[in-house]
């Protein structure tokens, strides 16, 4: 089965779960005074879930014939994913997750400096004498702009300082 159909299948499952919640669980929480309304909090989700299930089925059952894309310039062919820099992409995603988890405990300056440095090293940058000052200046400049100039609080240092 082609990837677009697999995706349609996943969305179909999501729509069914969403529909189940809309049809069978939401209305039980409705206070009595709201039950006289012509529209309930579940009305719109019910409509959406039915439409989403039907549309996902159209794709899943192949009822619509997509035109062959003749112009695949620059697009990624997922069937040849092994030929691309998959390791780099996965490492960068892991780095983003690490940044999200470390941003508060390690403070903005350290985590941003680390993110920019490690990110560039993953992509093959080896001129550390340029990279380290650039990452440090960029981290400080963004922190200064956001925290000092715009007044949006970003904790600069780790929590124990």
């Amino acid at each position: 089965m082609a990837l677009d159909r697999w995706i349609a299948f996943v969305i179909l499952c999501v729509a069914l779960a969403y529909g189940y919640a809309a049809f069978f669980t939401m209305d039980g929480l409705l206070p009595p005074f709201m039950q006289r309304n012509p529209i309930w909090p579940s009305t719109f989700p019910k409509i959406l879930s039915v439409l989403a299930v039907l549309t996902a089925l159209v794709i899943l059952l192949g009822l619509e014939k997509p035109e062959e894309d003749k112009d695949g310039v620059g697009d990624i062919d997922y069937r040849k994913l092994g030929q691309y820099n998959l390791a780099h992409a996965l490492l960068l995603l892991a780095l983003m997750v690490a940044y999200a988890l470390l941003l508060r405990p390690a403070g903005f300056l350290f985590s941003t400096f680390g993110f920019l440095t490690v990110g560039a090293v993953i992509l093959g940058e080896r001129k550390l004498h340029i990279l380290l000052p650039v990452a440090a200046i960029a981290s400080f400049a963004v922190w200064y702009l956001v925290d000092q100039v715009l007044g949006i609080f970003l904790r600069p240092w780790p929590f124990f300082i």
Binding site: P38, I39, L48, A52, I76, L81, Y84
Partner: protein
Amino acid sequence: MIEGLLIGLSAAFSLQNLLMVIAGCLIGTFIGMLPGLGPMSIIAIMIPVAITIGDPSAALILLAGVYYGAIFGGSTSSILLNAPGVAGTVATSFDGYPMARKGQAGKALTIAAIASFGGGTIGAILLMIFAPMLSSVALLFHSAEYFALMVVGLSAIAAFAGTGNVAKAVLMTLLGLIMATVGEGALFNMPRFTMGLMDLQSGFSFITLAMAMFALPEALFLVLNPARSVQGGDGGKINNLRITRDEGRKIAPVIGRQSLQGFFIGVLPGAGATIASFLGYAVERNIATKEEQEEFGKGSIKGLAAPETANNAACTGSFVPLLTLGIPGSGTTAILLGALIALNVTPGPRLMIDEPQIFWAVIISMYIGNLVLLVLNLPLIPYIAKVLAIPRNYLIPFILFFTLMGSYIGQNNATELLLLVGMGVCATILRFADYPLAPLLIGFILGRMLEDNFARSMQLYDGIGFILDRPMTLGLLVIAILLVIVPSYRARRARARQEGVADGD
């Protein structure tokens, strides 16, 4: 009106107010380039400064300048990095970013600047002429018409559906609408589909979704396949800044049409720049010739000029309900209203009579603001476009960092960053399978408003009868259906004709 204009001219051309316009445009442009800081947040940040100034005209002129600058700055990050930080500039990235990737970043920014200038200036002229008249028209729109208008906005998905891919575009729109129902709505005041997570209590954030749908997959694609990098040529030297006479001739009617359409959509409270830009894109695509339609989404100058013009004209239009009725038509104008009230100015029908110098000074400063943006930004474009000449090893981590920052600044919540990564991976997989992501974002942006207006209409009319009871609603819904059907019909007929030719007819 002439008298008002003279008052406005004398107020707007005072040294202090001229400085305010220039400062506002500069601040707005540079901060607006940071994804995640839209006009709303920048204006909110600038309010204390504006109040310190004390003079209401000067303060409002400064804030209006910031507003325009931020919209223009948002377009820049949409074009160069595919990172639209504001809903109103999402449509700009559809053709702006492909142009940048083709090595035409300078030209794309020039077209954006000219289109913004055109939209803003024509919008200001319309505002001057029609402001008092339009305020009463805007009041004719009830929630039923708003619901229908949102449906028209959603019908813009037809513009993203390739031949035989309508189901995918519709499915993505529905997914966006489904995501918009997560969290606590304004109307029912009860959390829905939050799965007990506090972080989902207020729903998904637009900026996180926008970054996850556009910037993150693009950055990952650049990592996966370095050959996709911008074909800037000459080691990133930015040439090709000028637009040719032929290109100018092509975009001039687009700017004219979208200034009008964008302005009138902007006048409607709640509709705003986002719908104007999506509709502008959809309308221009539908009326383009078949060859031009092929270009849309791949770097069409019309596809870039349309949303850019429309969102600027709509921003100007949103001042109509604010200045003449005291009704803020968007989040940004709501913040401006707050600033005005803090400065002891009450916008409304009497503003023109009681405080003509404020009313007219703001309108004149719109002209000046647009001119300032053009004069400031055109010479800066080669330097701004140099962003793309940064080596890939530096550029990609920076794009990823700004994506994360944009999401974090808005919410100040690290969970949002994990959501961003998760959604970004999903968006990348969707792109592998050729699912269009723009409809998902359109569905998400319009979903809340659509449901609120639908629910309000249902409550007012005690059922679905409002569709037939209100001719304007019915008319808009018919337009929405036509927007979807006509392009499909035209494509089918063209295909049938081609097959006929192949069969030797």
